[in-house]
Every structure is written in C-alpha cells, then in structure tokens.
C-alpha cells in the first residue's frame, strides 16, 4: 500500500466528514424555532437578556459567518450546550459513550463471528439442509424490526421467564462493587446485545455466503484439490481467506446500521448510552444534543470505514487504486 493510497483515502474521508458537518449545519439553520425562545420558554426574560443571548449564540450573523464560526468551534471541540442540562454537549456525550461502545462492540463482534461462520458453512454447500435452515433463519431475523425483536425478547425473558432484568445497566438498589458489579452489568447487557447480534448477523452471513460461492469457482481451488488437499483444508486455507475480504468493509458499514438499531434498543431497555441520549434529546427537542450525537456517530462510522478501506487495500494487493 502506497502513501498515495493512504492520502487519497484520507482525503475522501475528510470530504465525507465535511459534507456531514455541512449537512448538520444546514439542518440547524432549518430550525425555524428560535433557540433563545426555546431556552427561555415559560420564564420571564427581559428583551435585553434575549438580545444578549442572541448575541451569544451569534444568531444575527450571516449564514456564511455562522458556518465559519460553527466550524471554528467544532475544531475546538465545542458542540454547544445541551438544552436539557445546560452542560456542554461534548461532556454529555463522553459521559455516555462507554455503555454504547461496549454494547455495539460486543454485538458487532458476536454477529460478525456467528454470521461469518454461518455464511462459510452455508456457502460451501449451497442448497444443503444447513444452508437452507441458516439462510432462512437469518433472512427472517434480518427482516424483523429491531423494536419488535426487542419487545418480543423482553416479553419472553423478562416478563415470562424472568431470567434477565427489564432495563438499565445496574440495579439501582444493589451495592455491588468490582467484579460483582461487572457481572451485574453483563447480566443487564445480555438482552440488548442479543437483539442487536441476532438482528444484524444476517448481513454477515449473506455476504459471506455469496463471497464463498464466488470464490469456490476459482481455479486455485481446483488446483488445490488436484494436489490432493482435503475438502476441509481447501476451505480453510484457500477459500475462506480469499472470501473474507468483503466482510471487512461490511463490518465498518454495518456499525452505521447498528447505531440506528442501538437507538431503538437502548430506548427500549433504558441502557444509559448514546442511543438513549438520542431519543431523550428527541423528546426534549434538544437540538444541540441531537446534532452533536449525529455528528459523533457519523464521524465514528467515517473513521471506521476509512480504517476498513485501508486494511482492505493492505490485505488485497489487487486493490491499488480508486
């Protein structure tokens, strides 16, 4: 991989990031309700105070000036102040980032591993009973709304069987510390993580299955077989490594979808992460928070996609340009 490739890809990521920021700013501009009016709703605020607030938020400047100011503040890491708490959006986001990273991280890892494994087995013997069962099941889950899957599992496992807690990250009444606390958190995570894992492993298994099918027609597999390698060896050493590449890009892109799913699932299970913050901000019409959350989620997907692209180019010497 040349320096040129790295620079080119990074530049593309910067362009995408810029488009996101621009989009975010334009959406902010579309808000017809006056932020000052929203903030001071129900309180007696003098006209001078309002003018001062308008001045503070720079609402009287031209669009271009406002955009440049917005960019400048953004580069300084200032995403504005939450309407709900009055604290900086960055602080709010940082305080809620770990529950989401762990939830999305674990479920992405699990759905990638299980999905890829299913895809390999299914694609290696297309039309077999295993293929039909696994493809049918993953398609079914893939077609299910996250909200419904969440409600269904919550009903089965919290209401009926009472195996897992209904929500939150720890029991507010418990005073567990250390390892015990970690176990309690994991216990709370099982259901939300299961919904996200099951809901999103379909992409991995379907893409992996298609990729294995594609690879299984390649000449080098015939050669490997002609050399007398066992079927198992050909699959493990020749087919799988070559068919793995598309799932790298998929993992990065899939984070974007899982982020959407996590908003629903965190809301349903009151998991105190960014997703719950998203829907709370939505309910409170907290625009700075909404935009900060949107920006942070987009930026993470953009960075992950860049890393995946670079990894792909590193692993596959055929991808040199574009």
């Amino acid at each position: 991989m040349t320096l040129r490739t790295i620079l080119r890809r990074s530049l593309l990521a910067v362009v995408t990031l810029f488009i996101t920021v621009l989009l975010n700013f334009l959406l902010l501009r579309v808000v017809r309700t006056d932020p000052v009016a929203t903030m001071t709703r129900g309180r007696k605020v003098s006209a001078e105070k309002r003018a001062e607030l308008r001045e503070k938020f720079g609402l009287d400047d031209s669009t271009v000036v406002q955009f440049l100011k917005y960019l400048k503040e953004l580069l300084k890491g200032n995403l504005g102040y939450s309407f709900q708490t009055g604290r900086p959006v960055t602080t709010e986001i940082f305080s809620k980032i770990w529950p989401t990273i762990s939830l999305i991280g674990i479920s992405t890892l699990l759905s990638a591993i299980i999905g890829i494994w299913l895809g390999i087995r299914a694609g290696w013997r297309p039309g077999s009973a295993f293929d039909r069962l696994s493809t049918g099941t993953t398609m079914l889950f893939y077609s299910t709304s996250d909200a419904f899957l969440g409600l269904l599992l919550a009903y089965l496992f919290t209401s009926r069987l009472q195996w897992f807690p209904t929500g939150g990250i720890v029991d507010p009444r418990s005073d567990a510390v250390g390892l015990q606390k970690l176990f309690e958190q994991l216990h709370h995570m099982v259901l939300p993580a299961t919904v996200l894992t099951v809901g999103y492993l379909g992409q991995y298994s379907l893409v992996m299955r298609a990729s294995i099918l594609e690879t299984s027609k390649e000449d080098f597999l015939t050669l490997a077989r002609a050399k007398g390698s066992t079927d198992d060896y050909v699959r493990r050493r020749h087919a799988v490594p070559n068919a793995m590449l598309p799932s790298i890009t998929l993992t990065a892109l899939s984070i974007g979808y899982v982020l959407g799913g996590s908003i629903v699932i965190e809301t349903l299970f009151t998991w105190p992460g960014l997703g719950l913050a998203f829907s709370r901000a939505l309910g409170a019409q907290d625009f700075p928070m909404l935009q900060g959350l949107f920006l942070v989620s987009s930026a993470s997907v953009i960075v992950l996609t860049l890393l995946a692209d670079l990894l792909y180019a590193r692993l596959d010497p055929r991808v040199r340009i574009a």
């Binding site: 593309l12 362009v15 995408t16 488009i19 996101t20 989009l23 975010n24 959406l27 902010l28 579309v30 808000v31 297309p126 398609m139 079914l140 077609s143 299910t144 709304s145 996250d146 909200a147 419904f148 899957l149 409600l151 269904l152 919550a154 009903y155 919290t158 209401s159 009926r160 209904t166 299955r209 298609a210 099918l213 892109l253 984070i255 974007g256 979808y257 982020l259 959407g260 799913g261 908003i263 629903v264 809301t267 349903l268 998203f278 829907s279 939505l282 309910g283 019409q285 625009f287 909404l290 935009q291 959350l293 949107f294 989620s297 987009s298 997907v301 953009i302 996609t305």
Partner: protein, 320 residues
C-alpha cells in the same frame, strides 16, 4: 402492484402494434414487440422461483387488505374516543379477534388500518429513493468528468453517514407529517442504488448502439431516455423491490421512537404504543405481536420477490 412483471405487462400491451401484418413494421412497433417478449420471458423465469411466487402472493394479499380496509374493519375501532366502552387490555376473544389495547382499541382494526400507512410509506419512500438514485447514478455515469466526481463524493458520503441518526435529526427539525417522513426516508437511502445504477450506466454507455445513435445526431436527452433508461430499468425495478423493505423498517423505527407520521395508524406506531403502555411488563403480548409479525412478513415477502427478480436478471446468481 409491486411486481415489475405485473406492472409492465399492461402498459406493454396498450399501444397497438400490428407487427407481422404490416409490410414495414415501425421502429416503435418493433420496440414494443421486443419489450412484450422480454416481459413474457421474464415472467416465465420469475414463475420458476418458488420463493418469489410465495412472496408475490403474500404481497398481493397484504395490498388487498390495505386497500379493502374500510370493508374489513371499522375505522372507528381505532379511535380511542369511540372505544371508551370497550374492555381494556382484553386478550384475543370472539368479539375482538386480536384483543384490545389499553385504550380499548381493537388490535385487528389497528393491524388492518396500519397496513395502509406502512405499505404506503414503504412504497412511496422507496420509489423516491430509487428516482433520486437513478437520476444521480445515470447523470454520474453518463456525463462523467467533474459531474461524476461531485456526485460520487456526495453519494459516498450518504453511503457512510448512518441512516437512522440522520433521519432522526431531519425529522426533528422538519415536520412530522406523512410527506416529510416519506421525503426523509427517501433522501437518506438512495446512495446504494445510485452506485449500482451508475455502474450499469457505464457499461451500457459503451455499447455500439449508443455510438450509433450519437453518430445519427441524437442528443443527451434522447440517449438517456431512449437507450440508457430502458437498459437500466431492470436494475431499477429490482432495486425498488429491495428498497421497500428497508423503507418499511425505517418507518417502523422512526414511529417507534415517537417521530412517525402524525396522521393515521402504522405498524411502527402500534409497536410504540405497546412500549408506552408497558405491554411487556403486563404480559399483553397481543399489543405488539400482530404488528411486529406483519412487518416481518411484508419485509420478507418484498425481499423474496426482489431476490427472485435479481436472479432472473442476473443468470450468474441462479446457482445460489
């Protein structure tokens, strides 16, 4: 209806095209005869896909239910003010086949009337998404150069930017009427199809008949509408069928988060109502099971039809 085969067949027959009897068949007549023949071949191939036919049957039934909703159940049963005398949180019974919710609304009425909004949003938003995708893809592929560069960068950005967060922010600052929701879902989901359509445009553009048309003095508009569009149409239709599921799921997600369309009832809104009514905690499974299963069934049916269409169009996929 949603199946391209069914949608094309009647329009292909409307213009009178007397082919064999006329001494010199007109160009238009020849073109229509060719199209009718390929639709016939397409349908024959499509019928061989069992999954595709099952999906199509499910879709026809769902569409009929949505269209005939007023004849099947009373809309009044979905309006809380009329259902005040109904039993609340009643499990499925003879009077209420799918039970009632916390406001005494009949769940079967919500299911049938919800089909309208969910299918409408799914179909219209997916159509909008494909129209944008086709316009961007064809323009980028046909014109190339800086137009391609600019459009492709925007397309890449939209491909990477997470859809649901973007849709949430858009709905939050815009309105919550049906048109806005459809617009938001359409505008956040076009990038994938734009990419495919651009690739197809690039290959069609290099065919000899496009050169021939250009040599005969055809302008861009003629080439795009008469040569490129008919040739990318199959991809557009396959993509449309495969975009409807994600549009339906997006509507469900937005509605569940409380930013679904103001007007009407949808399956997503039923799921949200179930969550706010603590249906899970109180064990009222009939609050969410019918709507959730309806979403899964319709989404799966569209996917099955879409996959079958793709298989017909792309023989390479047939072994799968």
């Amino acid at each position: 209806m949603t199946a391209p085969g069914a949608a094309q067949a009647p329009s292909a027959q409307t213009p009178s095209a007397p082919i064999p009897s006329a001494p010199i068949p007109s160009a238009r007549g020849l073109a229509w005869a060719r199209r009718r023949r390929s639709v016939g071949i397409f349908w024959a191939e499509f019928r061989r896909s069992r999954a595709g036919m099952i999906g199509l049957a499910v879709l026809i039934v769902s569409a009929l239910v949505a269209l005939l909703a007023p004849l099947l159940v009373d809309y009044g049963d979905t309006v809380p003010i009329n259902t005040i005398s109904n039993p609340e949180r009643d499990p499925p019974s003879f009077d209420f086949p799918l039970g009632t919710d916390d406001k005494g609304r009949s769940m079967i009425a919500l299911l049938v009337w919800g089909a309208r909004t969910s299918l409408l949003v799914g179909l219209v938003a997916a159509t909008l998404s494909i129209v944008i995708g086709a316009a961007v893809g064809i323009a980028a592929g046909y014109f190339g150069g800086w137009i391609d560069q600019v459009l492709s960068r925007i397309e890449e950005a939209f491909l990477v930017i997470p859809t649901i967060p973007l849709a949430i922010v858009m709905v939050a600052v815009l309105n919550r009427d049906l048109t806005t929701i459809i617009f938001v879902i359409g505008i956040t989901s076009w990038a994938g199809s734009a990419r495919l359509i651009r690739a197809q445009t690039l290959t069609v553009k290099e065919r000899l008949y496009v050169d021939r048309a250009r040599a005969l003095g055809a302008g861009s508009w003629h080439i795009v509408t008469r040569h490129l569009l008919p040739n990318v149409m199959p991809i557009i239709l396959a993509n449309l069928t495969l975009t409807v599921p994600s549009a339906i799921l997006s509507e469900a997600t937005l509605s569940f988060l409380g930013i679904g369309p103001f007007e009407g009832i949808s399956w997503g809104k039923t799921l949200q109502a179930a969550a706010t009514a603590s249906a899970v905690k109180l064990g009222n499974w009939w609050f969410f099971l019918p709507a959730g299963l309806a979403i899964t069934t319709v989404v799966l049916a569209f996917t099955m039809v879409g996959n079958a269409i793709e298989q017909v169009l792309n023989p390479k996929l047939r072994e799968r």
